[in-house]
């Protein structure tokens, strides 16, 4: 019986991230439009876009290989699994124990690996430019991410997201300078990983500055829908991760019952809205930077993570 409940809760979590991801993207777009004094598309527009893409034919390049056709499914699956492993409304989900934070980061790495390969498959210059820049950004973001993991693991003594959320939500941690530094670092990494301004522009086209969009330029129809959906899931994943690591208050503790889960879900939606609003404000207020400025931006994240870790060595209380 317990196993059935566990699986049911895990299933709800998988469906929740599935349903919420386009909404978050739509919300960010809407707020950005309002900030630019535009009316903006409806909140549901990302869903409509996905459905529209599903109805369209796929146009494949003549020399596209089987890998090109398989990549959308593989990347989507990897991102979906990773997103399902981040606690949103409750901790201690069945499959939380199957993977810790390092595995989640590595799953996203798998998705990126395949996407970068797909960028090279057709053999156009745009695909190559996108892939080569994407792996460069990843090479900078991953060490920074590990320092963040390290910093959090030092405070909590675990890399398990459920344990981390439970521990930080309890009263014994309180405000920590090092966690604050790690949070800023994670925000920077999340911006880079999700191809947001100032690292990349999600709504750009036909520019030599684009990274993610250049990589997926040859995709169309249902393949493109899956990739777009994957990107939306990834954004939701990173926001959930930031919430889970640094603002887990109110999250449903494992086995607390449906009422606590519902309260946790409501609070999670509030946190998600706040995060989406802040992202929109930040993106409106900043300009995109040159590609070769990105190393300095991500280097700052690495240094912040390192600083947070060192502070913990100096004093357990910081």
């Amino acid at each position: 019986m317990d196993v059935i409940t566990d699986i049911a809760v895990q299933g709800v979590q998988m469906l929740l991230v599935f349903a919420l991801a386009p909404l978050l993207t739509g919300f960010v777009r809407k707020i950005k439009a309002r900030l630019q004094r535009r009316r903006g598309p409806s909140l549901l527009q990302p869903y409509r876009d996905l459905i529209r893409l599903l109805r369209k034919d796929v146009v494949l390049a003549d020399n596209a290989s089987w890998l090109f056709r398989a990549v959308p499914y593989v990347t989507f699956a990897a991102i979906w699994v990773a997103a399902a492993l981040v606690p949103t409304f409750a901790t201690g989900l069945l499959f939380n124990w199957a993977a810790d934070l390092i595995v989640i980061v590595a799953l996203l790495g798998t998705a990126r690996f395949f996407l970068a390969l797909a960028g090279m498959d057709v053999g156009t210059s745009f695909g190559g430019i996108g892939s080569s820049r994407e792996v460069m950004i990843a090479a900078l973001a991953e060490p920074a991410m590990l320092m963040i993991v390290f910093c959090v693991a030092l405070v909590v003594g675990s890399t398990h997201l459920s344990t981390v959320a439970d521990h930080i939500a309890s009263t014994e941690v309180g405000l920590r300078v090092s966690l604050g530094l790690a949070m800023i670092a994670l925000v920077i990494v999340a911006l880079a990983e999700n191809a947001r301004i100032p690292v990349d522009n999600p709504s750009t086209h036909l520019e030599l500055t684009m990274v993610h969009e250049a990589m997926i330029l040859e995709y169309s129809g249902r393949h493109l829908a899956l990739i777009e959906f994957g990107a939306q899931l990834k954004l939701l994943l990173y926001v959930s991760l930031i919430i889970c690591l640094f603002y887990p208050w109110g999250i449903g503790v494992f086995g607390a019952g449906p009422a606590a889960y519902l309260a946790g879900a409501a609070l999670y939606l509030v946190k998600l809205t706040t995060a989406g609003f802040l992202l929109a404000v930040f993106e409106t207020a900043t300009a995109k930077m040159r590609v070769f400025r990105v190393p300095q931006f991500l280097g700052a994240a690495l240094m912040l993570g390192l600083l947070g870790t060192l502070l913990l060595f100096v004093s357990k209380g910081l």
Binding site: L54, R55, D57, V58, A61, N63, S65, W66, L67, Y73, V74, A77, W80, V81, F95, W97, A98, A99, D100, V103, A106, G109, T110, F113, A116, L117, G119, M120, D121, G123, T124, S125, G127, G128, I129, S131, S132, V135, M136, A138, A139, P143, M145, L146, V149, F150, G157, S158, T159, H160, L217, E218, G221, R222, A225, L226, V291, F292, L306, F313
Partner: protein, 671 residues
């Protein structure tokens, strides 16, 4: 018959095969089939017997043969550590022999390969079995010389001759260091048996010195930066099955030597030495993979990536040393197991990738990636297994490379338990360097796979390419399957490795296979756990779910058309991204520091029809700053000393006189 006797019998059989190789080399077909077939059978027998000894946890056995030094004899022993490394050596050997059954057909100088190949295998087996300093050094030299002969197999190419020369120099240097290390270990009593060395007490300064000498000796064989210079020259120069053995297996034999001396013979190390090992490993990993990223020769790229993996292995060795020095037994066992796991993994996927590179080489005749491309259409099976190897070596789930790196990261996360400040700060920094190396490895293999197998063909060589023979394919499919197996069920591998840690460190990880859902929980569930099986199943289920959903919801139609490319289609395949072009962002970010890289563009003035040229300048700093000055110094000294040969008789006599007086003076002051 004991497992040890079987192993020694296999070594004898391999040596006999080498003799057959000399005789049969005149008839290429017969020679190939007999030598590689026999080697494959013998290696499989040795593999089964070693794996049996490891899994049954047989007690250590020792045999003394009346060979070698008259008062010493030759000691050979089989304990869990050597059994594990025998598994690595013989698995690699069996696969390489199977591969060579087909691949060897393309060999144009079989008489230079066939005799040395089994001898090389025998040498590696002997190093792992040896249990006294004399037979260890003798088999080490035998292994080096046999592999040198294989590097020189195609000696008519000047680059290979240079590779052989540099290799020979570095191998002699490494053996000299090992000789000194064993001399210090044996002490004044001069007992060279490992059993006696293990029991004798070692002064702390001797232990430190031996560890440093081993780091130089074994590190030069394994390819630790800055002792790596010979490796990217020599490994690709040999035929591909030998490249796979040198990269996948011989570097592991070097690591075996290091473990044997440092963890088994020396006893409790000092914590400061672990810092040195950590630092060397931490520098080697990212530098090695950055070299690989700058490379456009597929086999050299793989050789440089070996350097990265050796760095990772040395990082976990350093971690194990650090924890062991502070008596943190469980994290030490974790780091140690992680390292053995990575040794096993790297031997698998590096062999696989070198076989793949060999298949590409035999199908197209090219190692230069900038002349390849689009092979995924022409070589379907090779492209799949090469992809598996690329994912595994990039440390991505659900394959095996990820599990060992995950275990190493778990060990890194235990560093706050260390009391020393230096280590506390060094270990997280090394962890960040390892994460950098892992991300760069993914970039490197996106490049290797993307340029070689994807895109449009860049030259005429690829358009005639076709899939390789069945032996080669089987030899690539087996390690690919093992990569997936070890990644999905890592608990079984860790349990097989546990007796080695308990043997050498006095503690082991908890048994993993009885855990629910076949998870691995190295320390405690609250600290971190991973379940490769569930993650793999999860990915497969959600990929099929999305596939089914898409089938139901979307139109299934596919239209083919010319590539879109933002409307800007470039008809010339050469306009695609090249190997150097793909690495440009990383070259600009990291290369300016590491290689003093600079891109120079010469643009002709308007109206001139000369082509614009891009020149990339890279400086191998290790070579230019260490080796070139050293070589110049030696040549300069030799030239100056040369004058001494042309003295008059008076000159020589006064030289003798001065020397005599100096020596007498020294003696007088000394006593």
């Amino acid at each position: 018959m004991s497992a040890l006797a079987v192993e020694l019998g296999c070594v004898a059989a391999l040596l006999a095969t080498a003799v057959i190789g000399v005789a049969a080399a005149r008839t290429p077909r017969l020679g190939r089939v007999s030598v590689y077939g026999l080697a494959a059978i013998v290696c499989t027998i040795a593999l089964v017997s070693a794996a049996g000894a490891l899994l049954r946890q047989e007690p250590p056995a020792e045999i003394v043969l009346p060979l070698g030094l008259p008062w010493l004899g030759s000691h050979f022993s089989l304990d869990p550590l050597s059994a594990f490394f025998l598994v690595v050596v013989d698995l690699g050997g069996a696969l390489a022999s199977l591969y060579a059954l087909g691949y060897g057909r393309h060999e144009h100088a079989p008489q230079r390969v066939l005799p040395f190949y089994p001898a090389f295998l025998a040498g590696m087996n002997l190093v792992v079995l040896a249990a006294d300093a004399f037979s260890f050094l003798l088999s080490w030299e035998f292994m080096s010389l046999a592999s040198w002969a294989l590097v020189m197999a195609h000696h008519r190419e000047a680059a290979n001759r240079r590779a052989g020369y540099v290799y020979l120099l570095m191998a002699s240097f490494g053996t000299l260091m090992l000789l000194l290390a064993f001399g210090l270990l044996a002490g004044t009593a001069g007992d060279y048996g490992f059993a006696a060395i293990r029991l004798a007490p070692h002064a702390p300064w001797i232990a430190t010195l031996v560890l440093l000498l081993m780091l130089l000796g074994a590190g030069s064989k394994a390819g630790l930066v800055p002792l790596h210079v010979w490796l990217p020259l020599a490994h690709p120069a040999a035929p591909s099955q030998v490249s796979a053995l040198m990269s996948g297996v011989m570097t592991k034999v070097a690591i075996y030597g290091f473990i044997r001396v440092v963890f088994d013979l020396l006893g409790q190390p000092d914590w400061s030495t672990s810092g040195i090992v950590l630092l060397f490993g931490g520098i080697t990993a990212p530098i090695g993979i950055l070299y690989a990223l700058m490379e456009k020769d597929l086999k050299r790229l793989l050789a440089y990536s070996t350097i990265e993996n050796v760095g990772i292995i040395f990082v976990s060795l350093g971690l194990a040393l650090a924890f062991q020095a502070n008596d943190e037994k469980l994290p030490a066992a974790l780091a140690f197991t992680a390292k053995l796991f990575h040794v096993f993994n790297h031997s698998l996927f590096k062999s696989l990738l070198f076989f793949g590179a060999g298949a590409v080489l035999s199908a197209t005749g090219e190692r230069d990636m900038d002349k390849l491309g689009g092979l995924i259409h022409r070589m379907p099976v090779t492209s799949v297994v090469f992809l598996v190897g690329s994912i595994a070596i990039s440390a991505l789930p659900p394959f095996n490379g990820f599990v060992s790196e995950w275990l190493i990261f778990q060990a890194v996360l235990q560093s706050p338990q260390l009391p020393q400040w230096g280590l506390k700060i060094l270990v997280p920094a090394v962890g960040a360097l390892m994460a950098l190396a892992a991300a760069l490895a993914a970039a490197c293999f996106v490049k290797a796979y993307g340029i070689t197998f994807l895109g449009r063909p860049r030259g005429p060589a690829t358009s005639k390419a076709h899939e390789v023979d069945r032996f080669s394919l089987a030899a690539m499919i087996i390690p690919a399957a093992l990569c997936l197996f070890a990644g999905v069920l890592p608990g079984l591998v860790m349990d097989a490795l546990a007796p080695i840690a308990s043997d050498l460190l006095g503690n082991r990880l908890a048994p993993q296979s009885p855990l629910a859902w076949l998870s691995i929980v190295p320390l405690a569930e609250s600290k971190g756990s991973y379940n490769g099986l569930l993650v793999a199943a999860f990915i497969i289920v959600s990929a099929s779910l999305s596939y089914v959903a898409i089938r139901l919801l979307a139109t299934g139609s596919v239209r083919r058309g010319p590539a879109w490319g933002c409307g800007f289609t470039d008809p010339v395949p050469l306009a695609q991204y090249s190997a150097a072009g793909f690495a440009q962002p990383i070259r600009r970010v990291f290369g300016t520091l590491v290689f003093r890289a600079r891109d120079r563009v010469t643009m002709p003035p308007p109206g001139d029809i000369a082509p614009a040229r891009l020149r990339i300048e890279l400086h191998d700093q290790v070579w230019e700053r260490i080796y070139a000055p050293l070589a110049n110094g030696i040549v300069g000294t030799a030239v100056r000393l040369n004058r001494m040969q042309l003295l008059t008789i008076r000159g020589y006599l006064s030289l003798v006189f001065v020397t005599l007086v100096t020596l007498l003076l020294v003696l007088a002051i000394w006593t």
